[in-house]
């Protein structure tokens, strides 16, 4: 299971950041606008063969198939995971603990996904997520086609 993003739907409201901060004290997902035309949330990608887990010397970051777990009790805050993450999705404030999305294992659905008002965040495995993204893309094409047909008739 992982969090996937439908960029077409993200409206830069940053509700996911607030929801994450409410649960964890600090936001582990960040949304930024790109050229004022798109907004892109970034959180842990839960890589296969995740570099952060490969370099973690204390075993706090663990690779569990398609998820990268984090156990704060084992973390020594050495910061090597921050330098090893290709996406810049791991954060370590000198005054606090490593911040990385752990998919909220104690919850059925992560609060960021529940909060997203446009359902831009999709929680599922990659097959479920691609299926949903395909369905949405197909429906967008169908709608714009229907609209153009309507315009030609008018």
């Amino acid at each position: 299971m992982e969090i996937y993003v439908d960029l077409e739907r993200c409206i830069f409201c940053r509700a996911c950041e607030v929801a994450c901060e409410r649960v964890h004290g600090e936001a582990r997902i960040t949304v930024e606008a790109v050229k004022d035309r798109a907004s892109v949330p970034v959180a842990c990608h839960h890589c296969e063969a995740a570099p952060c887990a490969l370099v973690c010397p204390s075993g706090a970051l663990t690779q569990e198939e398609a998820e990268v777990g984090f156990e704060a009790g084992k973390c020594t805050r050495c910061g090597l995971c921050v330098v090893a993450c290709p996406f810049g999705a791991v954060d370590l404030d000198p005054a606090s603990m490593v911040q990385k999305c752990d998919l909220c294992p104690e919850r059925e659905v992560p609060p960021c996904v529940l909060t997203c008002p446009t359902e831009a965040l999709i929680f599922g495995d990659r097959f479920e997520a691609t299926e949903e993204l395909r369905r949405r893309a197909a429906s967008r094409i169908a709608q714009s086609y229907a609209a153009s047909v309507g315009r030609d008739r008018a």
Partner: protein, 166 residues
């Protein structure tokens, strides 16, 4: 007695005469030791001045309990920390190690020590590092890695949304 016990002096060696030893070649300057125990962070002075990181270690550890010494040695990712006898080491109160920093290719910010980067390079598969290619993320700070990822993800969407509307 385990290796760690031998290094930290738990067992036959303990008491006020123990001193902190750091292997200069092994230490990568990651700050795990200074992060671990807030009570010693004041003694371990850090400065990211310029493109150098300086970590200052106290030499004498008489105020530490054995379990803290052990935890410090355990936290060190490269096993650079050990404890020895005071009369076998220089008598200074503290000592400093200085590390060259790697700078972000885009924003120029020093974001990690060069030795940290070497440590990471040794552990990540070469294809993931994408070194030598223009797209390699290894020489970027975390903020610029996010920016590059965002721009790449939004490229198609921006083209579509810039299309003149009829």
């Amino acid at each position: 007695m385990t290796d760690l016990d031998a290094k930290t002096g738990v067992g036959p060696i303990h008491g006020p005469w123990r001193v902190l030893l750091v292997d200069e070649d092994e230490c990568i300057g990651c700050r795990a030791c200074s992060n671990l125990w807030p009570e010693i962070s004041a003694a371990v002075g850090l400065s990211d001045r310029g493109a150098k990181r300086t970590i200052r270690f106290p030499r004498f550890i008489e105020e530490f309990e054995a379990r803290i010494a052990k935890a410090l040695a355990e936290a060190c990712p490269t096993g650079a920390i050990s404890f020895g006898l005071a009369d076998e080491s220089p008598g200074e109160e503290s000592f400093a190690l200085t590390f060259e920093m790697a700078r972000c290719r885009i924003c120029g910010r020093p974001f990690a020590t060069k030795k940290e980067m070497e440590y990471i390079q040794d552990r990540i598969p070469a294809p993931v590092q994408a070194r030598g290619s223009a797209a390699s993320w290894m020489n970027l700070c975390t903020g610029c890695r996010q920016d590059v990822g965002r721009k790449a993800a939004a490229r198609g969407l921006i083209v579509a949304r810039s299309w003149p509307r009829r």
